[in-house]
């Protein structure tokens, strides 16, 4: 996938996931250290609480007067919470039962927090806190310890709070952020669709169209401008080509007209007739070459509703004198009225004209060339000539292909027909006329029926 929206989406999604993972990790780590700090404070407070109940009796010996609820709480935990009070030498004076761990290092302070593993890497892990207290000049050390299993309740509580209050809020927010970003990208790229719609419509007939730069994102303006400059150069080339075609037409036909006019004034009418025949062939070839040149500069023929019957009538009207002069009949067979197709009238006229001329050239006198129209829509040109052998049917549409080396024309007619029909998104094909001869069929893409 190369779409800009997709690329931006992927990058945003990756960034979003990484950011949220980092954020969650950081918050989790923060929660963890908070938990440790809280635990230490709790344990120290308990140690201080127990130390506050330590006193000296009349003989100066230490006594611990723990209130019942506190003493019970240590008893009921079966060793998972415990305390011990030691003298300066480390001898245990009072305790809740199970032995506490070794004393931590106080390093000048009066309190210390510590933890240790009584069973190595096993599940048991103890956290502890110790405070120093001074009673009548004697130092006493109070230790409180707690099993990690109990501590985990605390951690679970913190995690739960984090997930319920903080964590879930982030997911919908991130999704909304992604959606808004995508919408913004789409909105920003929308003018490009407009540009491509304009670009789609550019063909040789509308070569002066330029792509609009209005609303196009600034980053893409250079691209659109570059395309417009390329279109300028293409249009210039196209215009030069068209000028060339117009000049070529003039420069080729005028000498032919001079030649033809001069020959017509010749005294020797037999030679004149032969020369005029040659000039007619020459003119035909020149016409076809000029038509080819013109079609090449209009790669995409403009489409307009064209009445096939009108075009056929026009072509037949123009060629009827030729047909009659060569002793042949020409007819149009059409059951229905006008048949509309999307085409280019001039190109279509040229195609049909070539087919009919071709048929008139290749058929014997006293036969009929028929132009048959159907609603499919198709136009058939049916003749009673020799027909086209099946193995020649593909080659016949190639340029400069001639069935008869000495025949008339340059072998361009059918190539032109094919070129035009392809440009009109239709087709041309050959079949046998059931009564003998060839049937050329021009097919057009079906058009949506308007009333």
């Amino acid at each position: 996938m190369h779409s800009i929206s997709w690329r931006i989406f992927v990058r945003l999604a990756i960034t979003t996931v990484l950011t949220s993972m980092f954020a969650y990790g950081w918050i989790y780590w923060q929660a963890q250290s908070t938990e440790i700090a809280v635990r230490q404070r709790v344990l120290l407070n308990r140690a201080k609480q127990i130390a506050s109940f330590l006193g000296l009796d009349e003989s100066g010996e230490p006594v611990l007067k723990l209130p019942e609820p506190i003493a019970d709480s240590y008893k009921s935990t079966t060793g998972s919470q415990r305390y011990a009070i030691r003298d300066q030498a480390g001898k245990i004076l009072f305790g809740s039962g199970p032995a506490t761990g070794p004393l931590p290092l106080f390093s000048q302070l009066t309190q210390a927090a510590y933890d240790y593993d009584p069973d190595g890497p096993g599940p048991l892990h103890m956290y502890g806190a110790a405070v120093k207290s001074n009673l009548g000049g004697r130092i006493f050390l109070t230790q409180v310890e707690e099993n990690v299993l109990d501590a985990q309740y605390l951690r679970a509580a913190v995690n739960e709070e984090f997930l319920t209050d903080g964590g879930w809020l982030q997911a919908p927010f991130l999704l909304a952020w992604l959606a808004v970003s995508m919408l913004a990208v789409r909105r920003a790229l929308a003018p490009l669709k407009q540009v491509s719609r304009v670009a789609e419509k550019i063909d040789s007939a509308t070569a002066d169209t330029r792509l609009p730069t209005r609303n196009v994102p600034t980053e893409l303006v250079p691209l659109v401008n570059a395309i417009n400059l390329a279109l300028d150069r293409l249009e210039h080339g196209l215009m030069r080509q068209r000028e060339f075609n117009a000049n070529a037409a003039h420069q080729l036909r005028t000498p032919l007209a001079v030649l033809s006019a001069n020959i017509q004034t010749m005294q020797d009418k037999t030679t004149a007739a032969k020369l005029i025949y040659d000039i007619e062939q020459m003119s035909r070839i020149v016409n076809q070459l000029l038509l080819v040149a013109r079609l090449e500069t209009t790669s995409h023929l403009s489409n307009e509703p064209v009445d096939l019957l009108a075009v056929a009538t026009d072509v037949a009207t123009n060629l009827a004198p030729l047909a009659i002069a060569s002793g042949k009949h020409l007819e149009i067979l059409n059951d229905a009225g006008p048949i509309l197709v999307q085409a280019n009238a001039e190109a279509l006229r040229a195609a049909l004209s070539n087919l009919v001329e071709n048929a008139l050239c290749h058929t014997p006198p006293e036969t009929t060339v028929s132009i048959r129209l159907t609603q499919q829509p198709t136009v058939e040109v049916v003749d009673c000539g020799p027909g086209v052998p099946a193995d020649k049917r593909d080659q016949i549409f190639e340029r400069f292909w001639k069935g008869d080396r000495n025949g008339k024309g340059a072998g361009l007619g059918l190539a032109i027909v094919k070129h035009i029909m392809t440009a009109l998104q239709g087709s041309v094909s050959i079949s046998d006329n059931p009564g003998g001869g060839a049937a050329f069929t021009l097919r057009f893409p079906p058009t949506p029926q308007h009333n």
Binding site: A246, A249, H250, L252, R253, T254, L256, A257, V258, L259, S260, A261, N262, Q264, T265, I276, I279, S283, N287, L290, L291, R294, T313, A316, T317, A320, P321, A323, I324, A325, H329, L330, E331, I332, L333, N334, A345, E346, R349, I371
Partner: protein
């Protein structure tokens, strides 16, 4: 009859002058649009033969200018451009006919005659085709010097065919001319009429014949 020719190709111009002379036209040739316009001011011409691709300006503009000056000269375009658009623009701007290069001198002469035969134009009132003559004023058909009996409907059809001799006249054009636009015409009427006319031409010994082109129209040919 004096004809003005504006054509920049010297040899073609000379040949046209010479060629049309044989058909009884006197042709003055000029090579530029400017000279052509000046000529219309200094002499009376019956028709203008105009090449579109002139060195000083486009022939199409010349047509517009002449028509804007209310010069009613019939104009025949002589062109090497075969695009339909050029022809249509030419006709729309006021040209009367066009002929593609290369052309037969006979056809150029025939088209000129057709232009000059139009109502109000100089050329006589007689149409000719082979040994057949038709006087458009007297409405008389003459073959080999004898007036032939032809009904008025048949004469109407014959006139249309003779005016466009060698070219196709559509069935529709015949219907419209003979029966008017509002007429309720039986589809066979024209066919019957043409078949009668054909028989008549045969009877009176005319050497021209009417060809039927099914679905296209009719064509009169010597």
């Amino acid at each position: 009859m004096r004809i003005l020719l504006v054509e920049d190709h010297d040899r073609l111009a000379q040949t046209i002058v010479k060629g049309l002379d044989e058909f009884g036209f006197r042709v003055d040739a000029f090579a530029t649009a400017e000279d052509g316009i000046n000529a219309t001011r200094s002499a009376e011409y019956e028709a203008l033969i105009l090449e579109l691709g002139l060195p000083d300006r486009d022939g199409l503009d010349l047509i517009s200018e002449l028509r804007q000056c209310n010069i009613e000269l019939p104009i025949l375009i002589l062109t090497a451009r075969d695009g339909v658009d050029d022809r249509v623009i030419g006709l729309d701007r006021g040209a009367d006919d066009y002929l593609m290069k290369p052309f037969a001198m006979k056809e150029l002469a025939a088209r000129l005659r057709a232009l000059l035969r139009r109502p109000g134009r100089v050329l006589g009132t007689t149409l000719e085709s082979g040994n057949l003559r038709f006087n458009t004023v007297l409405r008389q058909v003459v073959v080999n010097g004898c007036v032939a009996p032809v009904s008025s409907r048949e004469i109407g059809a014959l006139e249309l065919l003779m005016r466009r001799a060698g070219q196709v006249v559509s069935k529709r054009a015949l219907e419209d001319t003979l029966y008017g636009l509002s007429g309720d015409v039986n589809p066979n009427t024209v066919e019957v009429l043409i078949s009668r006319l054909r028989k008549r031409l045969d009877e009176i010994g005319a050497d021209c014949s009417i060809h039927t082109l099914r679905g296209i129209g009719y064509l009169l040919r010597e």
